[in-house]
């Protein structure tokens, strides 16, 4: 057994810093590179892409990235784990195989985790009385069944561990928990038992700290952010994991950013609910048990993590079509920028009313004044405001109404208050609203499947 392993986070979301994975595998020693690409909406976007072209539906950054990092990862024996397979992990693996072939790489096994996509099984579940109730509203999924765009089960680390056991150096999954990507190598390398819930919780907490990339190494840090060194070359987090469940969060030495108790604590509280019950497929981690200790420069030890047995359910993330929306913006300048923007809002709303257009919601915000804090925004001396962006958004079921709204923004430039600019982007186009449906499903109904693509 290895005495320790170093797991590097390479992406915190699809759209994250493209250079990060390359730096993680080249700037210092690591054993694993884990990359999270999937936000809740991402699956539905990928499902749409797959509908148009059955060979798509995965994070298309991956083949390009592999061209750069595969030679290094092969040489240094770094394993890669990613959920960027989206709704088509098999096609993603085929593309990676092509890249490997073009680089002359041989004897490479790519593990593919399948079985999380349940979009085609909804009727089957409904017929057997599994109605995938919305966790927030309690409604049965049958009410939006015809508008479903994607439905995926969140797998944990287990299928990834299986793929590693089959010799995979790259593991590509669909919907896997962000935390499972990091826990998997610990289970595999240290032979952790899935019944040891404290270890499961320790790996899960490490995964939570890594899952948003540089958010634990000084990025988006609300503490003394101005003291964070060299954000231009910010280092992404690395979990140095030990067989006993101790984890040290760190980053490569020659990088920017900061790993302190404060930066790690901010990531610990990110997007959590009840901290005593952080639920994953492997365990229920107790975030109130976690202890943090600064053990060196940019080194924070995470220890004492306690866990309980998991539930008998997998989380399901489904997405469905829910109408259209559009957003328009115009910029008003001094003098009386805010007064002008407010007048523009009143004028536009009257025109929409004259046209008899129906919306589910119309929302106005004034960027530079109240877009972030809404009613909490403080009154300011208007003479000090240089400019305000008038932002108006609409949402509704009627495509034509949303489309017509888009045609009413530009006319304000010549038919409304003066000192206005910022209409270069053309008419706002209606975009489809994709709503999110969280549910639970009994674990026994879902079986992950592992396939190995050999290069």
């Amino acid at each position: 057994m290895k005495e320790k392993i170093r797991i590097a986070s390479g992406q915190g979301f699809w759209g994250d810093l493209l250079e990060a994975p390359y730096h993680q595998v080249t700037k210092g020693p690591v054993d694993y590179l884990v990359m999270d690409y999937l936000a809740e909406v991402t699956m539905s976007i990928l499902q749409k892409q797959k509908k148009k072209n059955p060979e798509l539906g995965y994070a298309r950054d991956i083949p390009e990235l592999m061209k750069r990092i595969l030679p290094v990862c092969i040489e240094k024996e770094i394993k890669i784990i990613t959920n960027g397979g989206g709704v088509n992990p098999f096609s993603c693996a085929q593309e990676v195989k092509k890249v490997a072939n073009s680089l002359g790489i041989k004897n490479l096994k790519i593990g593919v985790v399948l079985g999380d996509d349940i979009l085609d099984r909804i009727d089957e579940f409904l017929q057997s009385g599994i109605d995938l109730k919305n966790m927030e509203t309690g409604e049965s999924i049958s009410i939006i069944k015809d508008r479903l765009l994607s439905a995926n089960v969140y797998f944990g680390s287990e299928p990834i561990v299986e793929a590693l056991k089959l010799g995979a150096q790259i593991v590509i999954t669909g919907r896997t928990t962000d935390t499972g990507l990091t826990l998997a190598p610990m289970v595999y390398e240290f032979g952790w038992n899935y019944e040891n819930f404290d270890l499961m919780a320790a790996g899960t907490v490490a995964g939570h700290i890594l899952e948003c990339g540089a958010q634990s190494t000084g990025g988006n840090f609300l503490g003394d952010w101005e003291s964070v060194p060299d954000m231009a070359e910010i280092g992404f987090p690395i979990a140095e994991a030990y067989p006993d469940g101790n984890v040290i969060i760190t980053k490569h030495e020659n990088t920017g950013g900061l790993v302190s108790i404060e930066t790690v604590a901010e990531q610990l509280v990110y997007e959590i609910g009840d901290p005593k019950n952080y639920i994953t497929p492997e365990c229920i981690a107790d975030f109130t048990s976690i202890k943090l200790e600064q053990v060196g420069k940019d080194r924070v030890r995470v220890y004492n993590v306690k866990g309980k047995p998991p539930t008998n359910f997998y989380k399901v993330s489904a997405a469905y079509f829910d109408g259209y929306s559009a957003v328009g913006t115009l910029t008003y300048s001094w003098p009386k920028a805010l007064t002008k923007a407010k007048a523009a809002d009143r004028i536009l709303r009257k025109r929409l009313e004259f046209l008899g257009l129906q919306f589910d919601e119309i929302r106005t915000e004034f960027l530079g004044y109240n877009a972030c804090f809404g009613p909490l925004a403080k009154e300011i001396d208007e003479d000090l405001i240089n400019e305000v962006v008038f932002r108006i958004a609409v949402r509704g079921k009627d495509y034509n109404a949303i489309e017509r709204f888009g045609r009413e923004i530009a006319p304000l430039v010549l038919t409304g208050p003066p000192g206005v600019t910022g209409f270069a982007g053309g008419r706002p186009k209606p975009s489809e609203v994709v709503a999110y449906w969280p549910a639970l499903i009994p674990k026994e109904l879902i079986k992950p499947k592992i396939e190995i693509v050999e290069v």
Binding site: E40, L268, P275, F287, T288, E361, P375, A435
Partner: protein, 107 residues
Amino acid sequence: MKIRLIDIAHGRSGDKGDSANIGLIAYDEKGYKILEKYVTADVVKKYFEGICFGPVERFEMPNILALNFILHNALGGGGTVSLKHDAQGKTLASALLRMEIEIEEPV
């Protein structure tokens, strides 16, 4: 005396469906005691009037000197549906850090 939360704490906020969570983290034990005593769920609910339309829950994490608040029905329908510029509640932690509280303790 009057203090602003930003004087004694930092934090981070984000979304879970139509709920926002705000983790408020004190810089030291003394600060945590103040947060624990004065920044109750009721105080936060009242502060976010007009933003949060559901209940506010508070969870204590003394191990990392943090309080975690869940603001239900606070994001205009949730990340993908919301028309808000800040649909994911990313700036709500900053909004809370701007809150002033009247305390008895010296800081």
